[in-house]
Each structure stands twice: as C-alpha cells, then as structure tokens.
C-alpha cells in the first residue's frame, strides 16, 4: 500500500505543493528576522525542522489510501480524545493554558492534532451506510462527537481551536448534501445557546470579546495588541519597510508576534504587495483544495478534501481577520506561517490527505 504507484505520481498536485513550499519559506524568513524572547533566532530553524518532519508526514499520508484512513477514523478519533484528556493530567501549562504535552524533547499540542482526527471522524459518520442519505440521524450522531472535544478544548482553555470546529463541521454537513433547511434550524438552535456559552467563558475571554466590541475598554490589554498590529500592518504601506525597517515588529509590540500575530510582522516588512503574494499562495491552496473536493467522484474523497481545505481556510480567514482588526482576538495560529510544531505538522498532514485524494481520483 505504501509503495507508490507510478500512475499515482502523475496526479500529484504540483501547484498545491508549490504554494505550500512558498508559505513555509515565508514563515521561516519572517521568523528569522524576529528576535523572540530567549529562544533567539533558533525559532526559524526549529520551524524548518518541524516543516521537514511535516513533509515526511505529508509523504506518508499521501501514499496511504484516504479511504482506509477514514475507515479507521473512530480509532483516530478516540486516540485524539485521549490526547485531549491527557492534557489535563500531564499537560504543561503556559500562561494559564494547559495545551501542551511533553513527548521526550518535543512538546505537542493535542488540540492541533485532534483537528484532523475530527475531520476524518465527521466524514466517517456522514458516509456511513446507516446515515444515507445524510440527514437527521447523522446530525444526532455528530452532536456528541463534536461536543465532547469542544468542551475539552474550551476547558484547556483554547477557545479559538474549539470555535474552529464549528465552521469545519458546518462545511462538511453542507458538502455532504444535508438539506439547507435542516442546517438553518441547527444554526438557529446554536445561536440560542450563545447566552449559556457566555457563562462558561473565562473572564479574560469575555474581556477579549468586549474589547473587540469596544476597544477603548482596555487600552493596555487585548486592545493594545490589536491597535499595535494595525499600526504595524498599516505602516508597511504599499511596498513594506524591508527587514531592517520594520521597527514596529522588531521593537516588540506584542508578546505573540511569532505565533498568532505573525501576519502583522509580515505585512509591515513586505507591505501590501507582499501581503498579496502571501494571500495568493493561500488562495491557490484553497482553490486547489476545493477543486480536489469538487472533482472527486465519490463522497468520502470529496468530504475529506472539503474538511481539510475548510480547516486551513477558516484558520487563515479568522487569523488574518483578527490581526487586521476585523474579528475578535481568539488565538488561532496562521497555518504554515505561525511558529508552532504541532500546527505545522497538522497542516502538512492535511495537505497530504488532499494529495491522497487527488492522486486516487481516477481509480
């Protein structure tokens, strides 16, 4: 199964890989200009290390038949849930959040790895024989499958990742062909639970939402990050300030400039033109991903491609939206760009899934 068929290689999606390579390269360059904390310039190297590991994972995943992976989805899902639960027992706490587990010299973030498990599990449910045609029964089955990890991730607390599961799930339901009326009702019910959700949020999370609605509320806290990010992005103007001139970024304004706010650094350095290049890479990624989904001839491949593409696309949209001040700060990394091994690994594995679907679409 692992041995790669020559015919499969003919269907490799080169534009997709090219866009990915471009993004990883931009990530490493941007990180190398930052002098982050005590880690120093090592961040860029480590990011490349993770990317290399990720490419390996990408190749392995791409060589596997995605249909077999979906068949094994319940096992992956349970494993992923185990990881999420383990965080509470073994987790390493960083600034108040328990999101990481140490595995030897590496730290992994189970909530990142779980994203893919979740996509596979959702596809498994939607394409199971008993759920055909996908409708009420699939949704009923899906609710606990989505709710349990959602609560676990919110408790870490990692609100951003938890919220991300919602649009991904919606995209999969839509793609599976569930009647839109049913989805509308579901969405209405979801909105109804918002007040309850508000109660569950931690104070600082509520504060972030309030600050988004009213930035003057806390000029020293969350709003500070957003204001400074806007100044950084805007001051990049059309062509950017170049590496040496990006004072706003090098003179730290945000504690998370190498992770969640890396887009601001990039935008200041390379300007609007640079941003266009970056967004074009992402756009290419999405268009190819959706194309794979659209041209897949059977639902498993279509939904896998759709789920993975949605996963990455929503992260990009939310992250850039939040850094540019269009959305509240929820703490979602920019896939392939933000510093973080687990995120990089998962993004590349997801792309591996896409390739797997593409290569087997004519089988």
């Amino acid at each position: 199964m692992i041995g790669i068929d020559r015919r499969l290689l003919q269907n490799v999606d080169w534009p997709l890989l090219l866009a990915t390579a471009g993004l990883v390269a931009m990530s490493a360059t941007t990180l190398s200009t930052l002098n982050v904390g005590r880690a120093g310039g090592g961040v860029a190297l480590r990011q490349l290390g993770w990317a290399a590991l990720g490419v390996l994972a990408l190749l392995v995943v791409a060589s596997l038949d995605y249909r077999k992976l979906v068949r094994a989805a319940p096992a992956f899902y349970l494993l992923g849930l185990g990881g999420l639960a383990a965080v509470f027992a073994l987790g390493r706490s960083v600034s108040g959040a328990r999101r990481w587990i140490a595995l030897g010299p590496l730290t992994v973030q189970p909530s990142e790895l779980f994203k893919l498990c979740f996509v596979l599990m959702a596809v498994w449910i939607l394409t199971s024989r008993w759920a055909q045609p996908p409708g009420g029964s699939a949704i009923v089955m899906m609710l606990p499958v989505a709710a349990v990890p959602f609560v676990l991730v919110v408790k870490q607390p990692d609100l951003g990742t938890a919220l991300l599961l919602v649009p991904v799930l919606l995209a999969l339901l839509v793609g599976a062909g569930i009647r839109l009326k049913l989805l509308g009702a579901l969405a209405a019910a979801g909105l109804g639970t918002l007040p309850a959700a508000w109660m569950v949020l931690k104070d600082y999370q509520r504060e972030r939402i309030l600050v988004y609605l009213d930035p003057v509320r806390d000029p020293l806290g969350s709003a500070y990050n957003v204001i400074q990010a806007k100044i950084a992005i805007g001051s990049g103007q059309l062509l950017g300030k170049g590496v040496a001139g990006a004072t706003q970024s090098r003179l730290a304004f945000l504690p998370e400039r190498h992770t969640d706010f890396i887009f601001a650094v990039f935008a200041e350095t390379w300007g609007f033109v640079g941003c266009l290049v970056l967004l074009t890479c992402y756009g290419l990624l999405f268009v190819r991903g959706f194309d794979i989904a659209a041209s897949s001839r059977e639902p498993v491949g279509r939904l896998v491609a759709l789920g993975v593409t949605g996963l990455i696309a929503f992260q990009v949209l939310i992250n850039v939206g939040m850094v540019t001040g269009l959305l509240p700060v929820v703490g979602i990394p920019l896939p392939l760009m933000s510093y973080g091994g687990s995120s990089m690994l998962v993004s590349l594995m997801g792309l591996g899934l896409l390739l797997s679907v593409r290569m087997r679409q004519f089988q």
Binding site: P219, S235, A252, F272, A293
Partner: protein, 605 residues
Amino acid sequence: MALVALNRGPVPGRRDPGKQRVVGMTVGVLAAFVVLVGQLWYLQVLEGARLQELSDKNRIRVRPVAAPRGVLFDRNGLPLVDNRPAFTLSLIPREIDDREKVLGRLSVLLKISYAELDDALGRVAADSLMPVRVRRGLTLEEVARVEEWKLELPGVIVEVEPQRAYPSSRFAAHLLGYVREASDDQLKQGRYRRGDMVGQSGLERVLDEHLRGRDGGERIEVDALGRSIRVMQAAEPNPGAQVVTTIDRRVQETAERAMEGKAGAVVVMDPRSGDVLALVSTPAYEIDRFTGTIDRAAWLRVVQDPDRPLLNRVIQGQYPPGSVFKVVVTAAGLQEGSLAPMDRVHCGGAFTLGDHTFHDWKKEGHGTVDLHRAIVHSCDVFFYQAGLKVGGTTIARYAQAFGLGRATGIDLSGEKIGLIPEPRAGRRGRRAFLAGDVANMAIGQGALLVTPLQVARAMAAVANGGVLWKPRLVQRVERPERGVIWSDPGRVMGHVELSPMVWAVLRQGLWGVVNEGGTGTAARIPGLDVAGKTGTAQTVANSKSEKGQDHAWFAAYAPAPNPEVVVVVFVERGGHGGAAAAPIARQILNAIFFEKVAMAGFTGS
C-alpha cells in the same frame, strides 16, 4: 467497518448537488478573502501614511494607573488598612537607549544594586513599552535626585501609586496578610499582569478578587524628552471594594500589646455569632516592609527566623491542648453516664497503671477531690481515672463534636486541622492504643493536637450552649456605587448535644477555676464573672529554651451568666497556663469590659 459505504459514484446524467455546494463554498471563501484584501488596502494604502507616521514616532507611552486596593474596616468603621500615595520607580525598556549606562547611573544614584535593576529588566522583552516597576516607596529625596538627572536617564520614570498603609508596623500581620507583586507562578495562571499587586496571605489573599479593583490606564503620546503631548486614550481606574470585617481594632490592638515579647496566639470571639473580634499571632512580621520593598536578605531573615514569624499560630499552630481538654472529657463522661458529679478520687500526686506511674502536676497531690474540685484545680489524677472510665473512643468522639481536630472553615488559607488520635489505630502493625494512652489523652497530652482557633470555637460552644460556629471574619463587601455585593450571614457548623445538667456542671466548674481559688485565679476581675480553663501542655524537650518547656493555655468566656466574648490565649513555651496565659486574658477582658468608652458600640450589639 462495512458500515462505510464506499464508491458511491455520482449518478450519470444527473446534476451533482454536492459539487455545486463545494463550488458555492469556494466562492464564499474567496469572497471573504476579498474582504481581507480590502481591509489590507484600507490599512496599508488608504490609512498607510497616517499609521506610518504613528509608527515612526511611536513614542507612545503606556501608563498604567493602578486602582487603589479596597480598604478593610473593623466592626466599628475604623480602618485596619488604608492606602497612601507612594512613589514608584519604573523603567520603560523600549526607551532605554544604552542599558548599561542608564542602569549604571541609576544604581549609583539610588544605591540599588545593578544586578537587581538588570534582573527586573531581564524579565520582560527588551523592547516592551510597558513600564517595569523596579522599586516602590521611594523617598522624596530619591525622587528629587532622579528628576534632577532626568535627561541622562532616558526610559526612567517616577510614578505615583497607592500603597498599603497600616496603623503600625506589625499590626494584625497574620490577619491582614501582605500584598506583593504577582510572583512568576501567579503570572502563569494568567489572571494577573506583571507588576500587579496581589494579596499573598491572610484576608488580602482571600479577598483579593474583591479588593484589587480594576487598573486604569492611559496611552499618551510623548515627545523626545518624554513630555506628554496628548492623551490618546484613558480609562479611569476602578477602586477595589471595601470590606467590613468582624474585627474590633481596639481589642486587636490590646491583645497585640498584651502578647508583646511572647510567642503565641490570641483569639477573641463572640460566642453568640462566631464573630472573630481579634486574631493575634506572635511574633508577627513587619507587614509594612513585606508590602513595600524588602531586600532579599531581610526576607530571608524573616523566612529563616527560628521563631517562625510567618506562621499564623491561630490557625496553623498545632499544639496539645493540655488540661483545657478536661472540659471535653468531663462533657463526655457526664453525658454518657460514666462520670457523676459526686465521684470522688483521692489524689496523692500520682496514679499508677500497670508498671507506669502518671504524675499530677502538683507533686503533693490535691487530696480527695470531687469532679467540681478536679476541674477547679485541674487535678490530673482524677482525670487519668476519668479518662479510663469514659474510654478513648468516646473521648475522641466528643472532641470531634466540639470541633477539635476539624477545620473550622475560617476564611483564611492554610488552616491546619490538628489531630484527634483514633483509639483503634492499633491494628495493622501499629502500636496499639493502650490504657496509658487514654489516661494521657484525658489530660490533653499525647498525640492530641489542636489549633488555638479550634479551642476558641469549642469554648464558644460551652459558652453558648453547644452551637459550633464557623468563625466569621468578614461581615460584608461593599462598593460605594453598588452597595453590598457579598455578605456572610454566619454559619452554624454543628451542635454539641449535652443535657442541661451537664452544661451546668461544666459552667460551674469553669467559673470556679477563676473565682474559687482555682488554677485560673490570675484572670479574676472584680465586677466581672469570668469563667475559664487553664492548660499546661508538655512539649518535647528542647534544650535551647531555658524558660519553661511547657505551652501555656487559657480559654475563657465572660460574663459567665450570659457570655459575650470568648478569649483564648496561648503562649508558646510560656510555662504554666495559670501563670503565663491567664493574666493576658485578664488584660484583654479588662479592656473589653472596663474601657467601654473606647469600645463604644461593642457591647450594645
């Protein structure tokens, strides 16, 4: 896995709705992308020049304005702790051009070690805009020196911030607790910002959430000389809530004065409500220094002090209760019928059980005593035998009913629970609980451990007929604009069920201790009916202490017919309870009942 339906290809000739939907979503995502590009166009091209300007001379200063912490009041409205303005020296890392030079100058100017300054700066990013506080409580002279050299010290600022002020240096240190900058561990919890003042012990810690208020802040644009040009944004600080405690400041001060120079604890409690009127643990640490700047050496001196000034002996000190425990044995024996008021025992100064001799504290003995005289004179021989009659299990049960060896639930952190030995612990290889252990337990020795607060609560139960209160420290928390936001109505944690006859015998005995020439005579006050029980707890020999080895206890209530206060005094290695502790209780009771002008409003409640 056969559940998975694979290879369900599209039906030829029909439009594929799934495909259409994917196309729809693609369009949606791309549309969102266009919005993002639009926002970037707006920020980078339309607004670019303005934001560029902001970034160029982004000499925007962030000035946190600390919210004053809430004030703690005593029950009569006197402040226990207040705020006063103090000068704080801060560094703005981003504005320091030459770190070595600036820190070097500052270190010479203010005689702060270079390492300390360097250390403070090292904890934050080298280009942070937020001021880092390096020293609080500068003197006026120091402020003048910094201002004089201002131009040579870019990035150095002096801010005015509220700081805790106490009536005296060690006032109610364990009760109030000290306030310090959030530690690294606390910062990791994510609830605090660097430099936040956080209550670290006592009420300041328990009530921190209420007391801290909400810091305000300003973003100001400054010129190259650090002069502010305009305030861009400002948020007013919101002061912390006020707390009305149950403490009576004058009682607290009297008790502290009475304990001066001794190690120990005092609890004054209202048996009618569980209100704690005074809570004293000595030696106390200098709370004002702990809250302000304290250098490492001074800190270590306190932490390593063999007298353990940081220990709150009222709730964390665990000691054998000594003869105070005879109250429990008497209650158990009378209630269970194994003792009777007319029981008589001849005390010749010692009691032999098997091959072991148990001595009375009075070598020559008390002669023939009945129960009442045994309590009054604290006759050990009587109680050795009483204990054997009542039995270890029963004694332990009653001790627990009186709340000994159980957490009182007081609103302070770090309370210890003490220990009531389980008489059945002989099984599983451990030493059996022998008759000798029961005899020892009956006079409050052996493995028994209680805290002074537990003793106070138990004595309050004797005074009020068996109600076991949760000691109350906080009456209410209030905000000027919102009124009372939290209040403690008081809580009963249990009842000691004894027949009226038993209560009567107990109270007569305790009255006799003080008023019939008993061991507590030193607490006698003409014109006031004081009742109480002395205790002298033997301790493990400690050759360093030349004074008496024994811990002194005195637990009292007054006025006996209708008790309004319970006073428990504990003096560590003070000697005999009647000699070392009872006079202190007398002093406190005297102040409460006969300096009424000062105590206005207290007994009238």
